[in-house]
């Protein structure tokens, strides 16, 4: 008795399910069923290689639909249903322009760069750290992200930047970094105190003409593209493509870049060696330190 009733109910339910399912899928296909075949003929064969892992776009497509589509959109152009509410806006994968790279400005990032970005997320944005996904799943997502732009089929990633050994952290290095901060006009965007409130801050836009705020060094320990001194070095030597932050690779030498790193660390609310040295110096030479700004001569005396 019970079994018969259950069976009939279940069959009827299944029939309705199929009907509803088909209708819903049609109605929402633009929302929930990204069709990467549009403009990306080799979707399923695209791979990523991260360490010993090989990511597969076909598997990544399912993950993209589950996790990413709401912001990055069914077409990978950053026009997901939530994009209008999000600031800063989600990445447009069809442009293949990425902020966090180990490669020179204007070039494609490596698979590792994309993998690290997915793993780390982006502080002060809506992009979370996807560390809870397995490494294989993240590798699959990297492979799928590469299907959105034909650039990946035509170009190879740039050669990763070689980061030299860090120079000693000294007060001289910090002072020289401070001079560079003035000279390179970093303060115009990031502000004299690194609070992201420079005179140009309110005018900045990204490559999609969306307003964008410069990084506020006083906000914490993490940067958009990492947390270590090496990450910071890499940021201004490669630039953040798609944002107003340029590459300084042609402007500063490696030693100078380290000096800049050491100075920028003093702007953060952290108990670092750099901050300690700077506080000691300020206590002894405070009156001699000229403020950073349009009329200042940076670097102390």
């Amino acid at each position: 008795m019970t079994l018969k009733k259950f069976a009939v109910t279940f069959v009827l339910g299944s029939m309705a399910l199929v009907t509803v399912g088909a209708t819903s899928m049609r109605a929402q296909s633009h929302v929930n069923s990204p069709d990467p075949a549009l403009g990306t003929p080799s979707v399923d064969s695209t791979e990523s290689h991260i360490g010993g892992l090989t990511g597969h776009a076909a598997d990544g497509k399912k993950l993209y639909r589950r996790f990413c589509i709401g912001c990055h959109g069914p077409d990978g152009n950053g026009q997901g249903m939530n994009a209008q509410w999000i600031d800063p806006k989600p990445r447009d994968f069809t442009e293949a322009t990425f902020k966090c790279r180990s490669t020179p400005t204007g070039t494609l990032p490596t698979d590792d760069d994309l993998y690290n970005a997915i793993t780390r997320g982006f502080v002060t944005t809506n992009m979370p750290a996807w560390r809870p996904l397995t490494p294989q799943e993240r590798a699959n997502l990297v492979a799928f992200v590469k299907t959105w732009s034909p650039r990946w089929a035509k170009e190879k990633p740039g050669t990763p930047l070689t980061i030299p050994a860090e120079t000693p952290i000294t007060i001289e290095s910090i002072l020289h970094g401070r001079q560079l901060f003035q000279k390179l006009e970093c303060w115009k965007c990031h502000g004299p105190q690194g609070h992201g409130d420079g005179p140009s801050a309110d005018t900045l836009t990204d490559s999609k003409n969306n307003p964008i705020r410069p990084y506020d060094f006083s906000s914490g320990s993490r940067f958009m593209c990492g947390v270590t001194n090496q990450d910071l070095y890499r940021i201004f030597m490669t630039g953040l493509d798609g944002s107003p932050m340029p590459s300084f690779a042609d402007v500063v030498k490696p030693d100078e870049a380290w000096d800049l790193v050491h100075f920028l660390r003093t702007l953060q609310p952290l108990k670092t060696q750099e901050a300690g040295l700077w506080q000691t110096y300020k206590a002894a030479h405070g009156a001699d330190i000229k403020p950073i700004g349009p009329d200042a001569v940076a670097g102390g005396k």
Partner: protein, 494 residues
């Protein structure tokens, strides 16, 4: 079940035609209604949104395998105090109009049938009527209870939950309410929770996929050996404090909780609702350790070991000063019990298996329901049981999941071994549930699931724990009471 009785179930109905026709009409209505809803669906202008999706702009599927069940990302989010840890979690970053609230209710049609129910041989009783055993079946459109769930962050690293919950008749209680201090001293290993909350069960009964009267709870999570006055259920929210920690991806977690010995009761009673008996002055403890392993393309394989040690009173300090008989004031004579076991959440790509095992042990005084100031009857034993289940879920895609469960509880030691009328398997439970959920609408801002489920359970000699806990024991303690549920409904989350 009791209500079906009281309202006069049509016990003479033998044909299955009527329920089938009803079901078919329902399906037709569902199909037509759903098509309209989907066709008219605005993809960008939905005004009301579930709390976290609204806050972060992530789709439901980012945190849920199939809501309400959390996936690994959702668990990490929960462990972080409902924070993505991107320095935009504090409410200060939200639009002032943001209000972190969600509600959930499930209009449904369900059919409940229970065998071996003692009924009058002549409806209405009277002369010549005797008590006989018979199936009692009833079916109707219905409502579930409602959750009005508010949760999120008060400030960076200070999170909260407030969950007023009602039954289908709008009798409300606080299912959950706590404040949590997250990442104390910057460490994810130190999180402190204060209030009423769900225990750190790897397999959450609060977030599982089953809704029917027989399948909508884990029997093991609420089982006590028949005759025991212990009211503990590991699936029930408890009240107290919890220290919990985890690593960055929550692959290693611990939880230590100190809880009032009153089954999560409020107002110093053993119940959330008015009229509960007074509680005692003791505390329980719960510990859980969870570890997950990366199984490559299969996903993460999670394992948890847990232990709950508690006490319950066996009699009351009473007063008869007011007349009208003794009034219980506070529970006394605490006697111990414990529950230990393990759980797993195993992923095999789209297939998920959830094994669970529990061993339960109550003091002989709890088992016999006697005050511990009295001597135990000869042969009285501390009752024990082993229970567990294996649940399977297959995710066809983020919008469609099939699920099933087999559950078994065996009483390994009865409290009264010298009473011949009590069979050794008295209280044993066997339960099966199958079903599917289809999510025609799974926005980042709301969701609808169409839920179909069938469940059936057998309880030896006792009242089935069929959802609302009503029903009647069979005439003979050796009889197995079969209770089945068919559940069809729209589960929606706003």
């Amino acid at each position: 079940m009791y209500k079906w009785f009281a309202n006069g179930a049509d016990r003479t109905r033998k044909s299955w035609v009527r329920p089938v026709v009803t079901c078919a009409l329902l399906m037709l209505a569902i199909v037509i209604g759903d098509c309209r809803a989907v066709s008219a669906l605005p993809t960008r202008k939905v005004m009301a949104i579930p709390a976290f999706a609204r806050k972060y702009g992530l789709p439901c599927s980012a945190c849920h395998t199939a809501w309400p069940e959390l996936n690994n990302f959702g668990k990490v989010f929960q462990d972080n105090g409902y924070q993505l840890m991107n320095d935009r979690d504090s409410l200060i970053w939200q639009n002032p109009s943001y209000f972190p609230i969600t509600f959930r209710i499930t209009p449904n049609w369900h059919r409940e049938s229970t065998g071996d129910q003692p009924v009058d041989s002549i409806p209405g009783g009277g002369t010549g009527s005797t008590i006989i055993s018979r199936n009692v079946t009833q079916a109707a459109f219905d409502l579930s209870g409602m959750d009005l769930w508010s949760a999120g962050t008060i400030y960076k690293n200070i999170s909260f939950v407030l969950l007023p919950s009602s039954d289908a008749t709008a009798v409300w209680h606080f299912e959950s309410a706590f404040l949590r201090f997250d990442n104390i001293k910057g460490s994810s290993w130190l999180n402190f929770k204060f209030g009423r909350f769900e225990l750190d069960n790897l397999i959450s009964e609060k977030r599982f996929l089953f809704l029917s009267a027989n399948g909508g709870f884990y029997q093991t999570y609420h089982f006590n050996v028949p005759g025991s006055i212990n009211d503990f259920g590991i699936g029930d929210n408890q009240i107290g404090v919890e220290l919990m920690g985890h690593n960055a991806d929550s692959s290693t977690r611990y939880s230590i909780a100190l809880l009032s010995s009153n089954e999560g009761g409020t107002n110093l009673t053993e119940s959330n609702l008015p009229g509960g008996l007074p509680s005692n002055r003791s505390f329980d403890g719960y510990m859980a350790f969870t570890k997950s392993f990366n199984a490559g393309s299969w996903g993460y394989e999670e394992f948890q070991a847990y232990a709950y040690v508690g006490q319950r009173g066996t009699y009351y300090q009473t007063t008869s000063a007011g007349g009208g008989g003794p009034v219980p004031l506070v529970a006394l004579g605490n006697e111990p019990f414990y529950r230990v076991g393990f759980a797993g959440q195993l992923h095999f790509k789209n297939l998920e298996l959830l094994p669970y095992f529990m061993h339960g042990h109550d003091s002989a005084y709890l088992g016999t329901g006697l005050p511990d100031t009295a001597g135990l009857p000869i042969g009285a034993k501390a009752p024990t049981f082993n229970g567990g289940f294996i649940e399977g879920q297959y995710f066809v895609n983020p919008q469609l999941v099939f699920f099933g469960r087999f559950e078994k509880i065996g009483v390994t030691q009865q409290a009264f071994v010298n009473e011949g009328a009590v069979p050794g398997n008295f209280g044993d439970v066997t339960a099966y549930s199958v079903g599917y959920r289809y999510y025609p609408i799974m926005f980042s801002r709301g969701g609808v699931a169409w839920h179909n489920e069938y469940s059936i359970s057998k309880s030896i000699g006792i009242v089935p724990l069929s959802g609302d806990g009503s029903g009647l024991p069979p005439l003979l303690p050796t009889n197995g009471v079969w209770s089945s549920s068919v559940f069809i409904g729209f589960d929606f989350d706003f």
